[in-house]
């Protein structure tokens, strides 16, 4: 870690003693806290074997967790594809030279970035059926909501990425006779995508987590199947919530690790800049949101 070495010297004998003492004190306090939580849960009878036993039975996994996980991944996968497409289209539209394209595109992006996803899903699920005179399934309510929201955030990420590229890139492309579409497709978007990869993947993690909102419109995703339905059958809501949380954490950590790997792999082909410039400076205004 580069940060940890910046702030303090290599520890000398006294610092080593001090660090050890602090480690022990904090470690003991932490263990005390864990023990206290343990006794609290024990008093509330949350640690009895029968509450955890369902997780050793295959039925729990085949009937609740795996179908829930599958539904989550289905909504997240489609949401990711659609929001990446939405993001690229609206980023390009917002950068357009034609004001009649760029202004509406900007307004749409700003609007959907500001509206809570839950509000959007509620509108699509409960409100839209009145407008289109037919039902909207929970699946599409979740996917459309995820696409509009995360797509807008991604649009800003792509736009910042494109704007952070040196002007010479586009100029050179025009100079060898490319048209605007080609410049975007072949020169600018690939570079912007690579520069913004960390933000894009963080946003995809946000998207995956946000599928949990499907719970509120009874889309049978992991939270619904794993915490609600499972706990309704076995009365073990706390153990169920813990198991489901662990599954989410594992998936998202894998996604983040994948992003790190991808970044390292692509970074080798880029000219190395001085260490302190990590991200393009005007890109810092775009943060993953969720």
């Amino acid at each position: 870690m580069s940060t940890s070495s910046v702030l303090y010297d290599h520890p000398g004998p006294r610092a080593k003693v001090r660090n050890t003492v602090l480690s022990v004190v904090f470690g003991v306090a932490l263990l005390g806290l864990v023990y206290w939580i343990y006794t609290k849960f024990d008093q509330a009878n949350q640690l009895e074997a029968w509450l955890w036993k369902p997780f050793t039975e295959p039925k729990t996994w085949t009937q609740f967790i795996v179908p829930g996980l599958w539904a989550t991944l289905k909504a997240a996968g489609l949401g990711m594809l659609l929001s990446l497409a939405f993001g690229i289209i609206f980023a390009v539209a917002r950068l357009s030279d034609h004001r009649w394209i760029s202004i509406p595109a900007g307004a749409i992006v700003e609007f959907f970035r500001a509206v809570p996803l839950l509000l959007m899903i509620f509108f699509i699920f409960y409100g839209l059926p009145y407008v289109i005179d037919g039902p909207v399934t929970a699946f599409w309510a979740v996917v459309i909501g995820l696409t509009l929201y995360n797509g807008s955030v991604l649009a800003e990420a792509f736009r910042a990425g494109i704007r952070s590229l040196p002007g010479g890139q586009a100029e050179a492309a025009y100079a060898i006779g490319m048209r605007k579409t080609q410049v975007m497709q072949l020169i600018l978007i690939p570079q912007a995508a690579r520069a913004m990869l960390p933000i894009i993947v963080s946003q995809l993690v946000v998207l995956l987590k946000d599928t949990a909102l499907g719970y509120i419109v009874a889309y049978p995703e992991l939270l619904q199947r794993g915490v609600n339905d499972l706990a309704a059958n076995y009365g073990n809501i706390i153990p169920a919530a813990i198991v489901i949380a662990v599954i989410y954490i594992i998936i998202n950590s894998l996604l983040t690790a994948f992003a790190g790997w991808l970044e390292r792999r692509t970074a080798t082909r880029r000219a190395r800049k001085p260490r302190n410039n990590q991200a393009p400076t005007n890109a810092t205004t775009v943060e993953p949101q969720g």
Binding site: V6, A114, L119, Y126, G127, A212, I216, A241, I249, S253
Partner: protein
């Protein structure tokens, strides 16, 4: 606009957004303190502290907020009997604040940590050279500079927090998204207006906030 001329609906609309603002305010303050503490832990020389900070961030950043809020309600309140107020709404409100600030603190921590990364190594080296300790280096030299570079990320976090506050509705608080759902259910003929009013209020609150933080970040940026 007949929906909102009914005083009952209008009051529900106002109180829904008041809940959102209160949730945002209380959670932002808590998450800020917690997040800065966690960031200090993550860059500290003590391995156990670093590990604790890292575990906290990885757990809460990767768990859906809905599940965190759920856990506050079913875990802390229903199972462990932690009651924070006699008033039912206030109890849910405070449980929501716990969930929101726990979740948000992980993001604050990461923002502060990346802010610390933007401070040139020479600054900390100079601080150490004149004999400042780790705590002093962090407090007097590094954090003030880092603070200026984390304004923009903080703006994003605050905006996300305000939107995330609607998730407390899933444990029964009548905040704006729940109010909107109810209004839609009773006024099927005006769903578009209802959505535009609620979404528009969020947009009117948050789009200027975003621009304000962008402006502030530019104004206060450390010129290097």
């Amino acid at each position: 606009m007949h929906v909102f001329t009914d005083p009952k609906n209008f009051d529900a609309y106002v109180s829904g957004f008041l809940w959102i603002l209160k949730l945002t305010g209380a959670s932002a303050a808590t998450a800020l303190v917690l997040g800065v503490l966690l960031a200090a832990m993550r860059v500290s020389p003590v391995p156990v502290l670093r590990g604790f900070g890292a575990a906290w961030v990885n757990i809460f950043r990767n768990t859906p907020l809905t599940l965190v809020v759920f856990f506050c309600y079913f875990g802390l309140f229903v199972t462990l009997g932690l009651s924070l107020s006699q008033d039912l709404d206030l109890n849910v409100f405070w449980l929501g604040v716990i969930g929101l600030s726990t979740y948000t603190s992980a993001f604050v921590c990461e923002a502060v940590r990346s802010g610390i990364n933007t401070v040139p190594t020479g600054q900390a080296e100079a601080a150490r050279a004149i004999g400042l300790t780790f705590g002093q280096t962090l407090r007097i030299v590094v954090l003030p500079q880092a603070a200026r570079s984390v304004i923009a990320p903080f703006g994003s976090i605050l905006i996300a927090l305000c939107k995330n506050a609607t998730i407390v509705g899933t444990i029964g608080l009548m905040e704006s998204s729940n109010v909107m759902k109810d209004l839609i259910n009773f006024n099927g003929d005006a769903v578009i207006q209802i959505f535009l009013v609620f979404a528009g209020t969020f947009a009117a609150l948050l789009i200027p906030t975003g621009y304000f933080f962008g402006w502030l970040a530019n104004k206060l940026a450390v010129k290097r």
